[in-house]
């Protein structure tokens, strides 16, 4: 092979892309508009797919390419489209209106990232970066931070669509942890997870529509008001 893979270079590339995913996640937590939020979410899978492809390239693990292509197609293209359609159909207000205001959300997300780093520190091996097998192990901290910020966004938001978005970004964290620690799960498991996500988005889309019809609002905190 003419293009000799240098694991050191791959490691740097993966770190850079993982950091970008994290920045996008914090941007989602701190951004004000729903449609922009969906678009930011749509960029994340591109980076995740590139990380998966890079790990696959350096470890000669072709099944990771499938995972990368599936991520790109489903989470990068299909799911954002579906969500934008839901938003248009329901015609909700564009502003997200979280419980904690945006700048504070961004700072809380920063704090959660710190927590993620502290949790993942015991798995951190700085000198193992040279071997292709350990490629991307250091992104575990990023993956943990992605979960935590995803959870925070779910708690912080009132409307059902924004909570779906938070759930999906949390799932991105899971994907990152899976590919960076195990070089990807078996393809059957991956496929299962992807279709799960797709079905979840579709079901939630319908559910959002029903909530809207029943309560004239997207605010899930109104779900405790029963109608006779």
């Amino acid at each position: 092979m003419t293009l000799s893979p240098d694991p050191q270079f791959g490691d740097k590339l993966i770190n850079l892309m993982a950091a970008l995913v994290l920045v996008l996640q914090i941007a989602m937590a701190g951004h004000r508009w729903l449609v922009t939020n969906i678009r930011i979410f749509g960029v994340q899978p591109f980076l995740l797919a590139s990380i998966a492809a890079t790990i696959g390239w350096f470890n000669h693990a072709p099944h990771l390419y499938f995972a990368a292509i599936l991520t790109l197609a489903l989470k990068g293209i299909v799911v954002p489209r579906l969500l934008e359609q839901v938003v248009q159909r329901v015609g909700i207000r564009q502003e997200i209106e979280p419980l904690v205001n945006q700048p504070l959300s961004a700072i809380v997300s920063g704090g959660l990232t710190l927590l993620g780093y502290v949790v993942a520190e015991s798995f951190h091996r700085p000198d193992a970066g040279g071997a292709p097998e350990s490629l991307g192990h250091n992104t575990l901290a990023v993956a943990v931070s992605l979960f935590l910020i995803g959870f925070f966004m779910m708690i912080n938001r009132r409307k059902a669509v924004t909570q779906v978005l938070a759930l999906l970004s949390l799932e991105n964290g899971l994907f990152l942890a899976a590919i960076s620690l195990t070089y990807g799960m078996p393809l059957v498991v991956e496929l299962g997870v992807f279709f799960d996500v797709l079905v979840a988005v579709m079901v939630l889309g319908v559910l959002v529509h029903r909530i809207r019809e029943a309560f004239d609002s997207m605010d899930v905190s109104k779900l405790d008001q029963l109608r006779g």
Binding site: V23, A27, I107
Partner: protein
């Protein structure tokens, strides 16, 4: 100071004084072209300075000596800060005097006196502008310090010449997430500190939401020229800090005649590129409401904090 080190200092001084208004002129004309206007000539800032220096001054009756002292402090502090950063060679002429902390707080001193000058004029606009300027400065400073510490940890020193030498030694250092995040944080701080569009509009003093222009509304003639020149030097200093610590390509390691011309060309190219980025941000964004500015700076703060954390992780 020996004569050997005096020559670089004089050269850098001349460069600072000459290039600073030009950078502003280039940005102004690039912005005009983006908006399909013709724009003023590239030398317009020089003409403005020349005109202002010839004019007489009107000084408010309520003003004390502070009103007259502020322009000199603003001008000299930014000039001094400019001599402490590497411009075309990695060895800055006054780098023995202090590192990046001294640069940041010299600029802070200039801003403090400008705010005092604005208050001293006794007009309500001056006070308004000063209060806004200090609010933004207080929010931008933590973000800036976090980003600066990230760079300093990467190089093992807060001395900018050491930082530049270290950056020259490590190729592809920009690939590290910490450097990239610190760069993003510093870019937001640069926009806030130099009063560019999402934060403040540099082109007008006719808006009620103006910040920098409100502070200097009572200044005229040579004092105004000094303040404007000082502001453009401050902008150049911050831009140089950004391009030379993060992209040190082409920076000559020492003040040797051989490497300087190439280094100067690289420096101008990098400045033009950064100006282009800033102009692009200015034309594609609308000015923020004043109460939204803290949100932008909170983002810069989080980016800076992430940069610092990821220094220890990756």
């Amino acid at each position: 100071m020996t004569t050997a080190s005096l020559l670089p200092a004089l050269m850098q001084l001349a460069l600072l004084l000459a290039i600073a208004p030009l950078t502003g002129g280039v940005m102004r004309i690039a912005k005009a072209r983006f908006q399909t206007r013709r724009g003023p000539g590239i030398l317009q800032p020089y003409r403005d300075l020349h005109k202002l220096l010839k004019k007489g001054m009107v000084i408010p009756d309520t003003a004390s000596w502070l009103f007259g002292a502020a322009p000199y402090v603003v001008f000299l502090s930014s000039l001094l800060a400019g001599l402490m950063i590497p411009m075309v060679a990695a060895d800055a002429p006054l780098s023995f005097f202090g590192g990046v902390l001294a640069v940041v707080y010299l600029l802070g001193l200039g801003r403090f006196f400008l705010a005092l000058g604005g208050l001293d004029s006794g007009s309500s606009f001056g006070g308004l502008g000063s209060s806004r300027e200090m609010t933004i400065a207080a929010l931008a400073e933590p973000a800036m310090m976090l980003a600066v510490f990230t760079v300093a940890i990467g190089a093992g020193s807060t001395n900018l010449s050491t930082v530049a030498h270290a950056a020259l030694g490590q190729s592809w250092r920009f690939f590290a997430p910490s450097q990239m995040l610190a760069f993003a944080a510093l870019l937001i701080v640069l926009i806030a500190e130099t009063g560019r569009i999402p934060v403040d509009n540099p082109a007008t003093h006719l808006e009620l939401t103006m910040i920098h222009e409100a502070m200097i509304l009572e200044y005229s003639g040579p004092y105004l020229a000094l303040i404007e020149w000082g502001a453009s030097i401050k902008q150049l200093v911050l831009m140089t800090l950004l391009v030379n610590t993060f992209f040190p390509f082409g920076l000559s390691p020492a003040w040797a005649a051989g490497g300087l011309p190439a280094s100067l060309v690289w420096y101008v190219l990098k400045l033009l590129l950064l100006s282009g980025v800033i102009v692009l941000i200015e034309t594609t964004n609308a000015k923020m409401r004043l109460f939204r500015v803290p949100e932008l700076l909170a983002v810069a703060f989080v980016l800076g904090a992430l940069a610092l954390v990821s220094t220890f992780l990756f």
